[in-house]
């Protein structure tokens, strides 16, 4: 059974068509990335999938339950982390989690057990009795995540969960997403961070102007649009552009203390660089090759659409 299935969703706000005939299928247990430029309709689709908005046309099922015909049963199966950390500032972290647990009908004992476990996992154990309004953005986002996963949902929706977070908070959030997926939750993730989608998701879907323009695995999407690869190299002393005048190098760009070289044949470029450095007694301090990026595919897809 599909964890999430949306068929021919349509939503208009006055004259604006925010979502136009969108169909999405997410398999149970997968991490599904949902990408799109600002204003593409990502948040509207999340609101339609989670039952916050009613579509003008189309259906949404969560584990086979129609969310607009049986909203309460469907919502019991899912957790939602909205775009901004939507927790009650005038409650403590623990009180926010208690409220969430009560909403899902959890017993007092189970709530206590899960609250202790989540506060520990998300690094909030010592702040459990502190009012959330005094928390940093990252800490508020961790409380928001804890509220959404306290009942171990079958399906977890995350709308830009790492947006604006510091490195530590971002890592904690990513680890928690992975942990929830390992525990069996299906993850639906919208993000601006292409690298995040690339490393986390088994499948990604790109939306633009309310329509789905591409849907596949990150690797296949990358291959579909660009075959250019790059080599990043740095040396133990400054070098000039002349060093990269070689037929296998399409373009060379300085990139901080490194050079990024674009090529169709990284093998050939690597051999050239090692030979040339040896001849001119230059030390190579780092050498990294990278394939076509999802970011490039994303830009091309959204520009074409």
């Amino acid at each position: 059974m599909d964890a999430i299935r949306a068929d021919h969703l349509k939503k208009t706000f006055g004259p604006v068509t925010a979502v136009n005939d969108v169909s999405i299928t997410v398999q149970t247990g997968e991490i599904f990335g949902f990408l799109g430029p600002n204003g593409a309709g990502k948040t509207t689709i999340i609101r339609l999938l989670t039952g916050v908005l009613t579509p003008d046309a189309g259906t949404v099922t969560i584990n086979g339950i129609d969310i607009h015909r049986h909203p309460l049963e469907a919502k019991m199966l899912m957790g939602v982390i909205p775009e901004s950390s939507t927790v009650y500032g005038d409650m403590t972290a623990e009180q926010n989690l208690q409220l969430s647990g009560k909403m899902y009908g959890m017993s007092r004992a189970l709530r206590e057990e899960r609250i202790n476990e989540l506060l520990l996992r998300l690094g909030l154990a010592e702040k459990r009795r502190v009012l959330v309004r005094t928390f940093s953005k990252g800490m508020k986002q961790r409380v928001s995540i804890a509220c959404a996963i306290i009942h171990r949902p079958h399906v977890l929706f995350l709308d830009e969960p790492t947006s604006g977070l510091d490195v530590q908070s971002r890592r904690l959030v990513i680890d928690t997403i992975r942990h929830m997926n390992e525990q069996g939750s299906t993850i639906f993730l919208t993000t601006h961070n292409i690298e995040e989608a690339n490393t986390l998701c088994q499948n990604v879907c790109i939306i633009n102007k309310g329509k789905i323009v591409a849907q596949d695995s990150p690797e296949r999407l990358k291959k579909m649009f660009d075959t250019t690869q790059s080599v990043e190299v740095s040396f133990n002393r400054p070098v000039t552009q002349d060093l990269f005048k070689y037929e296998g190098i399409l373009r060379a760009e300085p990139c901080g203390d490194k050079w990024r070289l674009y090529t169709d044949n990284p093998d050939l470029v690597l051999k050239y660089l090692v030979g040339r450095a040896e001849r001119e007694s230059i030390g190579i301090t780092s050498l990294i090759t990278s394939g076509p990026s999802l970011e490039e595919a994303f830009v091309q897809i959204t520009e074409c659409a």
Binding site: G51, V52, E73, M78, T86, V87, Q95, S144
Partner: protein, 249 residues
């Protein structure tokens, strides 16, 4: 089948959350507690009014202000803080949220007005001629006022001050046309016509029937109108909020 217990649980949890978060918010304390007290002192001090006769109307006014002051704050506050969207993603419906807001307002109204009534019995020789009617007046009165509060919170605004100003614009005139300071028997023309449109009129009349034993209308009429008004306010609030949701507000 599973939906009814989930719906009821949603109302209970949301009511508890509202009670914890909003009872101590300054606008609720200001317009729900202090304002009716100031109104009472403004009209009573130095005017040699018969406090025993005036007391049922004062109690109705207290109930009106307290019960209708909580709900107008909740929805705009939650929309501003973005917690409204999180609330909708929980296994609750918009109806559970509306009923939770009505319940929180009603409990606040009953609690505070009951304390005022108990406290007042020390200073004023108030009596109750019909206890059943008195309890009914409390329940129907607070329900209709809390429902009015929910209706006032329905416009698509995420600014609590704007909604509080709008709500006071509607609530304050009602106390002057509902037989509190001027008895219905002394009103005529447009004033009387307006009085018939105010839910507070029937609350005051019902409290008069329960505490003094005299009323303009039959208590049955008062009860029926208050119950009907409550239903109309809740349904109208529900309709407006659903329309807002469709528009994405």
């Amino acid at each position: 089948m599973m939906e009814v217990p989930l719906f009821l649980r949603g109302i209970i949890v949301i009511t508890g959350k509202n009670m914890r978060l909003y009872y101590t918010k300054p606008p609720v304390l200001m317009f729900g507690l202090l304002f009716p007290l100031f109104m009472f002192f403004a009209f009573f001090v130095g005017r040699h009014l018969d406090l025993v006769t005036f007391f049922p109307a004062f109690l109705a006014m207290m109930l009106f202000f307290t019960a209708s002051s909580v709900a107008p704050l909740i929805t705009p506050w939650e929309k501003r803080e973005k917690t409204y969207e999180r609330l909708l993603s929980y296994p609750v419906t918009q109806d559970s949220i509306i009923m939770g807001d009505v319940a929180a307002g009603a409990i606040f109204g009953i609690g505070i007005s009951f304390l005022v009534w108990i406290g007042s019995t020390v200073f004023v020789p108030v009596s109750i001629t019909n206890l059943g009617l008195f309890i009914l007046a409390f329940i129907l009165g607070t329900l209709s006022c809390a429902a009015l509060g929910t209706l006032l919170a329905s416009p698509a605004s995420d600014s609590p001050p704007n909604v509080m100003i709008f709500s006071n614009l509607i609530r304050f005139p009602l106390i002057f046309i509902s037989g509190i300071f001027v008895p219905l028997s002394q009103m005529e023309g447009l004033g009387l016509a307006l009085a018939y449109c105010s839910p507070l009129t029937y609350m005051v009349d019902l409290f008069n029937a329960a505490m003094i034993g005299t009323s303009v209308f039959s208590p049955l009429v008062d009860c029926g109108i208050l119950a009907g008004i409550s239903a109309v306010f809740i349904l109208a609030g529900r309709l407006i909020q659903k329309r807002n949701m469709i528009k994405g507000m």
